[in-house]
Symmetry: C2
Subunit: 147 residues, 2 copies
DNA sequence: CTGTATCCTTAGGGATACTG
DNA sequence: CAGTATCCCTAAGGATACAG
């Protein structure tokens, strides 16, 4: 896929050109559904992303405004921006779809069931939670400990 | 991305390995939101997919059970399967996200507004409509005319 | 019109060594 | 630990000609 030139103004195409590769959404996933926040955290994920690829995606996603970095060098952490967090509903739908169509999926059945039963509530609740954890909430004075 | 070997059992990863390339979702989009149903229809889409790539994706998507083909050779048409149609909620969320974050988006503002305001109803309504159009509804005896 | 086939170029990305 | 840099190779995919 050519990522340099915009292929069309279709919203689906925009999404694809923004994160339509094999790796970007995995970083988003890590930030959204796990406690992984650092470079090596991401490297440790099951899919086994290569160091150069990870560095490249982190750079891209930052440039696109989906994530942001706190600090530099040792101890640097990544967090979702509002724009990145806005992908939550889409991510939940993807999880739901995969859980339905992949019999080997590792998605927690009760979580999937909740998404299906009470999608709106789950999204709202998770969103609030993530806003706090990623320092997007005015009420949280500091990024806080990851627990 | 290595599409041959499964990288992990994560549902997001499953989605990526199923249609996480730059072109597959555009075919799904065409079937879902436009009247494009034939090989040349897809070729005419704005993004300008190459013939070999299109043929490859059609093959893949059929093998994965997301779409199916009616007829052969001249006049062959493609349609969504249940599995493909199940992507509708995710697609709507992607449209919504892109419309919010891409100022050049071609998504109809009133459509986007409706998705945001009444997501559930839009999905249900569109789903019913698409089931008929793609011959997935028992009530429709024949695929029917497109128009 | 619906594809295949071929050619050829480039981007993606694995492995690994290296730097601040 | 958080990246860069390099090497090298393969797969993705444009262009185009061809086939059923």
């Amino acid at each position: 896929m050519k990522r340099t030139t915009r292929r069309s103004d279709c919203p689906i195409n925009f999404a694809l050109q923004t994160f339509g590769d094999g790796w970007s959404l995995l970083v988003i996933r890590d930030l959204m559904f796990t406690d992984r926040r650092t470079y090596t955290d991401f490297l440790r994920a099951d899919e086994g992303i290569a160091t150069n690829v990870l560095a490249d995606r982190l750079k891209q996603l930052r440039a696109l405004g989906l994530i942001r970095r706190r600090g530099r060098g040792r101890g640097a952490t990544y967090a979702l921006t509002e724009k990145g967090l806005d992908l939550l509903p889409a991510m939940l739908e993807l999880v739901s779809w995969s859980a339905r169509h992949d019999r080997h999926t590792a998605a927690p059945p009760d979580f999937v069931a909740r998404i299906r039963r009470d999608r709106e509530a789950v999204a709202t609740e998770l969103r609030t939670h993530l806003r706090r954890r990623h320092g997007l909430d005015s009420r949280s004075s500091r990024p806080g400990t990851v627990g």
